[in-house]
Amino acid sequence: MTGGARLLVLPRARARQGADALRRRPGLLVGLGLAALVIAVLAAVAAGSVAIAPADTLGILLRALGLPVEASWSPAAETIVLDLRLPRVLTAVVVGAGLAVAGATFQGLLRNPLADPYVLGTASGAALGAAIAVLVPVRAVILEFGLLNALAFAGALGAVAVVWALGRGGAFAPLTGLLLTGYAVGSLLAAGLAMTMYLSGANLRQIFAFLLGGLEGSSWLRLAVAAPLIVGGTIAIAARARVLDGLLLGEEAAAHLGVNVRRERVILLGLGSLVTAAAVAVSGLIGFVGLVAPHVVRLLVGPSARLVVPLSAVFGAALLVLADLGARLAGEIPVGVVTALIGAPFFVVLLRRARLGYEL
């Protein structure tokens, strides 16, 4: 509880008591988090470049839920709230939660606090897939997912599969091998991406827009396709939280504690990659959420995955909702820039506080 106490600037004992009380009631924690998330969602739906009275926004939402509310607003306002803002904000919730959970999963699986959802080449694979889609002169749109999204998804999963196939065996311990292979494959794919971008000419802007990540293309239909994947994957990971806990002391220790390491490694890797790929297909490469959210949660409640996974989902969702709100109000700058602005300073602080060599 050291980091959290210092951050909160409370007397240590008091903070410890408070944290203990919270930790003992995970339900309460998650409940508080969800309440905060709902508030963030409402705030994000109420704000935008067109001013709509908060009372009207609330009315529109309530009416959409079926409550008998008098329609005292213009149809344009209703369209803006229900068809523009609400799907976008909900997409931010889903993507933010997914990225945070994937980040927590990879951090636990690879036992590396610097891991994020893209550590195994996912980002480069998705980017390359998207760039190829832009190059290919084919227009195919299914369920409002274009070739870009489909190839980004495929690229992300493909990259992980390659990393997995190449990274096992070899001289290094399995985890180290995965990490290093992820880095190597990622670099290779990034080179391929650079080449593709060079060849892309006028379409460069589209690739860049994807690389920087964004939620402008959100729609109800896209959400309906992506949400089950992300939410389902998140729940499946949460159900395996004790495996992540078991891995805290290492793979061998985990085996001694009853974890079927070989099987769980594949399962967690697969689930984490699936969630990441779905998130990337929907909204491009949004960074820092998957890295930062789990760490903030750990500062508050410790590293127990049983708490970290669901709370990361909630916190990651809230983070992305607010970051997207900031991006919208600042003139539609890419949301990846906002998350970087928030996340990078935090990351620096994290690095400075990290122990070098965490031997037990």
Binding site: S74, A76, D83, L199, G201, A202, R205, E216, G217, E332
Partner: protein, 350 residues
């Protein structure tokens, strides 16, 4: 890397445009179409039905070739069929060229949204901006109650935004002119969609006639034409016209043999290739950013080029040359004069 959809920028008024505008306004007056019908198909109703500015009093008009007819279905430059149910009263233009066209066709009183790059004519300042270089404000477009949107093809306007607007039932017409004839077709496309088909055809025909006249005198033919390099930018790499591009065609019509990059998708040209091609004239579009012929002459290695040695390096206003709008003829003339200040241009239309 530059994204080279033709860029539209402003130059000064030309008497031709003023005359044409007056002429068209007169035509538009008597050609007022039926009042706009019920809300367009889709979920959008106009936010506030402001009365359209009163049309000018009907003037005695010459014969108008085409009456605007609604509903009308046009095929835009992306190949999409777009149906416009009634005369649009709230037009949003997402490209500077289309804004100029709408003004030229007299439909500017029905334009409610523009881009921040629109700079001509001066009256555009009064129209709200809905598009910046980073953002298409879909909320604003919806809130304005837009009933027709003109977007830019070839990724000038994000395809996602176009799809989204169409999702809301707003007709979106995409314009993209890969060559000069495409510009004229776009003018007619905009006119038909926006409810000024007659003026559009007139404008396009007039422009075509002028362009043909210029091409007859200066275009490809028997006379010797100088090799021309059109410099877009040379701060790091040298950017110039790609093969078979709009710019290459303009240069050719304006009396030069265009030196191109060697590929239709590459926009940069290595210095060796440029020196080997040895342009006799260099036209500086980047004069707008302060590049002078003296600076060009001082560049290492450039003094081997004929154009530099014979001091045939001249600035040109790139906006009118590249913006695919009503001032294209003005651009063609400016380009011709930059290539050869003594060029025997036919007189400008009144």
């Amino acid at each position: 890397m530059l994204s080279r959809a033709p860029r539209r920028r402003v130059a000064g008024l030309s008497p031709f445009i003023v005359a044409l505008a007056v002429f068209l306004a007169a035509c538009a007056g008597s050609g007022t179409p039926a009042p706009s019908g019920p809300a367009p198909t889709g979920s959008i109703a106009p936010v506030a039905t402001g009365t359209p500015t009163a049309p000018p009093e009907p003037e005695p008009t010459p014969e108008i070739p085409v009456e605007p007819v609604y509903p009308v279905t046009v095929t835009d430059d992306d190949g999409t069929d777009v149906t416009i149910p009634a005369e649009p009263q709230k037009i949003v233009s997402l490209t500077p060229a289309t804004t100029e066209i709408l003004f030229a066709l007299g439909a500017d009183d029905r334009v409610v949204g523009r881009t921040d790059a629109d700079d001509y004519p001066a009256e555009v300042a009064a129209i709200p901006v809905v598009v910046t270089s980073t953002k298409i404000d879909i909320e604003k477009i919806v809130a304005l109650g837009a009933d027709l949107v003109f977007a830019g093809g070839n990724n000038f306007t994000s395809p996602d935004a176009i799809a989204k607007l169409r999702q809301f039932g707003i007709p979106v017409v995409v314009t993209y002119a890969p060559d000069v004839e495409g510009v004229l077709e776009d003018i007619e496309l905009v006119g038909t969609a926006a409810g000024a088909p007659g003026p559009a055809t007139e404008l396009a025909d007039a422009m075509r006639a002028e362009i043909d006249a210029i091409a007859a005198t200066l275009g490809p033919g028997d006379r010797a034409r100088p090799r021309v390099f059109y410099e877009i930018d040379a701060t790091k790499e040298i950017f110039g016209p790609a093969d078979d591009s709009f710019l290459a065609e303009m240069i050719s019509l304006a009396g030069g043999e265009p030196i191109t990059t060697g590929s239709p998708t590459v926009f940069s040209i290595p210095l060796e290739r440029l020196i080997a091609a040895d342009p006799e004239v260099i036209v500086l579009e980047d004069a707008a950013y302060g590049v002078t012929p003296e600076q060009v002459a001082a560049r290492p290695g450039w003094d081997a080029i004929t154009a530099v040695r014979s001091k045939a390096v001249r600035p040109v206003n790139g906006v009118v040359v590249t913006r695919p709008g009503p001032r294209l003829v003005e651009g063609l003339r400016a380009l011709a004069l930059a290539i050869d200040p003594e060029a025997p241009l036919p007189p400008a239309a009144p």
